[in-house]
Symmetry: C2
Subunit: 482 residues, 2 copies
């Protein structure tokens, strides 16, 4: 190792705090302006090649200072986002963010807590929120949970807890040792469920995909049959994953029935409630979640229908010990003290895989305290109303028809010739007019509008639909002339 | 489902943007003041019971608005953090954060991108940073990688990529099917490596813990022996995990030798460089990483020695296809378009488990562009110089002696009677004077100072050490009188 010069330590704080303060306030002003004026700009603008070229640079040896970096930000970054803040973004289950979220993340970065463990307010606030969420879902006092990036992680943790519950203590030391475990989810379940089984070493074939009814909900009778058949052929069923809000249609599996089957069969019930679980905040939607209080674990996202900034998921277990038994580990540098900064009983790293964790609890706490569940629920209700409005427009139109049930806030529809759907969606994106997405139903591309944005009003749906109709007519004219 | 009232949609934007603007600017001012004045306050203050009691509340149905929530933040949250911003925090491998990080997170929350995929600047910037990092580590153009929460996740992804490489295509469908895989790491490796093997279904027993030399580095001769012995008894060695910066001492495994062994034996070499990998930014420290360019994958954190706000890890693979083969999956709602928002070749969700991902690339890009690698490296060098200074103080003191080698920026030391170390560390925490941590060496508690803070100057080390000596004398006097 070369000799390190023993010089005056080099710190990274501003040399001139007043100058930094001016830059930061200007950045804040522009961020607020950007959000306030979101309706005036296109939903989405493709990143031009010259911007990409400007980003191609080795990591610099010499810094250029915050002021120059902020100029680059305004030129190269800010205009080319996802579009999910815009009221005509209808593409995917993305939250729209809030102004409160900007303040929350600024404060979290200021504090720069590591919420993996130890005795400080970040850990404490997360424990309190876990208790509050447990109460929302009707879980007992033994419940516990932690923030994660998103529901893909939450579902994975649910799978690991179920695996540990099925195989007991030796699993963590000895591994799977060929136990033929099988899991069950609806054919409409999110792909991350199969991926969770892959990561856990069980393989995606361990997931039985159960056929749905006409509304996109798992068929409990077929689920019972599948479990029976697997037992007969020597498999060990261990897990049912219920979906609260399917990605394509927004369907809710009948959780109460799933809970009964899980109880009868001695299986773990995990609920993938990526966007749907927090519908518990809406009086109108809450009945869809009936039975969730009987689940063993629930995964969900705050960055979807609760509009907390990305990323922010949660895994909640009805028995916190199930997570502790899956994750807690002794390590010298994690040794607990009776007093001081290294004290505290449950650390987040006892309940999940991460030891380095940002302060997600702050943005959730600030969102829940600022708005309350009533406002968040009302925004969800409004999205469902807008979806019903859109479905009615589709039904009235001679250019489109519904391609799937639209029970909630997601509307899938199609032109008479499905091959035109792709061109229509791409054209809307490129025009910056609206951002629906494309999904496949029975192998055919259909237009999918997922209404998750609290800024989306009925008038926006009307604007989008008029655009879509006009474009569809153009495409037909073009094809006829072509 | 109850009927949802078809009322005017309820949005969550401020009713009064000017009022919001005032609140946000005040919050920014207070956040900057809080950071600027960090030296004037105790390192750590225990959260009082009355604060915890105030946090005990069900999730509210009615919001109280941002202004009231900010008042709560200042009273209940801000004073009770981890302490890692303070120059006398020496407890764990925590970054100290920067003022630039505050602006970056505020801007990221404003944009609210989901960086799981699609065609937008968040995905683009991440790809460019991956390429820049690949160049830093001497990886070929085929390299690729993604941001994750932290190195626990990065190491897990490394294990999954290694597992996929060892078992080939059938793994993802069929699962482990009892393949007796074994992995190798030093006895000083971080606990998350064993946990990664647990999560992957291999069990922690699959990890062979190899004895270290006197400097805390893995012994390559014993590693070769262990691999040979395992092959002889029918196991399938698949993975070596080298550590670049051990958690207790800051030791670097001889990566070049590990790469040669991995090449000879056909094993995957993953480097856990949680804090040590980014020492590549320091001319003085870079030689410690010699051989890292031959690794198959590297995991590391930007929130540690690069001071990017929590959380922010990275997994870099020398062959991006190894990650694609481990994670990419077809799903209808992930279907790629030729044009528009849903286009783009590689999405982050092809390279890792998360589909919902915040814009970590922004805070890393802003940090690297603002400071450059030279300043970040200089701050690391300064920490190493401060550690040498501390070790010299310990060696001169009649109260303490070094408990372990201190080759880098971590100094472990002990009083003559180790049972006093715990009391000493707790007393320093409770006084708010300094925050070293306690770790176990050969089962005995020792005082551990991990110097990761860019604000820590030699003078801070002197202040800390004088406090520690005074307290040690008090404890001795107390014990003698007791």
């Amino acid at each position: 190792m070369n000799e390190i010069p023993h010089e005056k330590p080099y710190h990274l704080d501003p040399e001139d705090w007043a100058a930094f303060r001016r830059l930061a306030h200007r950045a804040l002003d522009l961020a607020i302006e950007d959000l306030e004026s979101i309706r005036e700009r296109p939903v989405w603008v493709e990143t031009p090649d010259w911007v990409k070229d400007r980003l191609v640079s080795p990591i610099p040896r010499q810094g250029k200072g915050l002021e120059a970096v902020l100029e680059d930000f305004y030129q190269l970054i800010q205009p080319y986002g996802v579009g999910n803040r815009h009221p005509c973004f209808m593409g995917w289950a993305h939250g729209a963010g809030t102004a409160v979220g900007i303040v929350a993340e600024m404060l979290a970065a200021g504090l720069n807590l590591n919420c993996g463990g130890r005795n400080h307010i970040g850990v404490e606030l997360e424990r309190r929120l876990a208790a509050g969420l447990a109460a929302q879902f009707g879980f007992p006092a033994s419940a516990d949970g932690i923030f994660v990036t998103g529901t893909s992680q939450a579902n994975f943790i649910g799978v690991l807890a179920a695996r540990r519950a099925a195989l007991g203590e030796p699993l963590r030391e000895r591994g799977l040792s060929g136990a033929p475990l099988t899991a069950y989810a609806s054919a409409e379940a999110h792909g991350c469920v199969a991926q969770a089984l892959e990561m856990a070493g069980l393989g995606r074939n361990a997931l039985r995909s159960i056929v749905c009814d006409s509304q996109g909900r798992i068929r409990p009778d077929l689920l019972r049959e599948a479990i029976r058949a697997d037992r007969k052929s020597g498999m060990t069923p261990f897990l049912i994953v219920g979906t609260a809000g399917t990605v394509n249609f927004g369907a809710f599996d009948p959780l109460d029935e799933l809970a009964s089957i899980a109880a009868d069969e001695g299986l773990w019930l995990h609920v993938d409630g990526a966007f749907g679980a927090l519908a518990i905040f809406s009086d109108a939607l809450r009945p869809l979640l009936s039975g969730v209080e009987r689940a063993d674990s629930i995964g969900f996202d705050f960055h979807k229908w609760a509009h907390v900034p990305y990323d922010c998921g949660f895994i909640l277990a009805r028995d916190g010990d199930s997570l502790r038994e899956t994750f807690s580990a002794p390590a010298a540098y994690l040794s607990r003290a009776k007093k001081g900064l290294a004290s505290g009983e449950t650390w987040a790293c006892d309940l999940g895989p991460d030891l380095s964790r940002g302060f997600r609890a702050l943005k959730v706490w600030m969102t829940l305290q600022s708005y309350g569940t009533e406002s968040l629920g009302a925004a969800m209700d409004a999205n469902c109303a807008a979806a019903r409005h859109l479905a009615a427009l589709v039904n009235k139109s001679d250019l489109f028809r519904l391609a799937a049930p639209a029970p909630l806030n997601i509307v899938c529809f199609t032109t008479e010739r499905p091959e035109g759907n792709r061109a229509l969606v791409e054209a809307l994106h490129l025009e910056g007019a609206a951002a629906p997405s494309l999904t496949l139903i029975d192998g055919n591309p259909v237009i999918r509008c997922a209404l998750f944005n609290h800024r989306t009003e009925i008038a926006d749906v009307d604007i989008f639909f008029a655009k879509a109709e006009a474009l569809a007519r153009q495409l037909i004219a073009y094809e006829c002339s072509g």
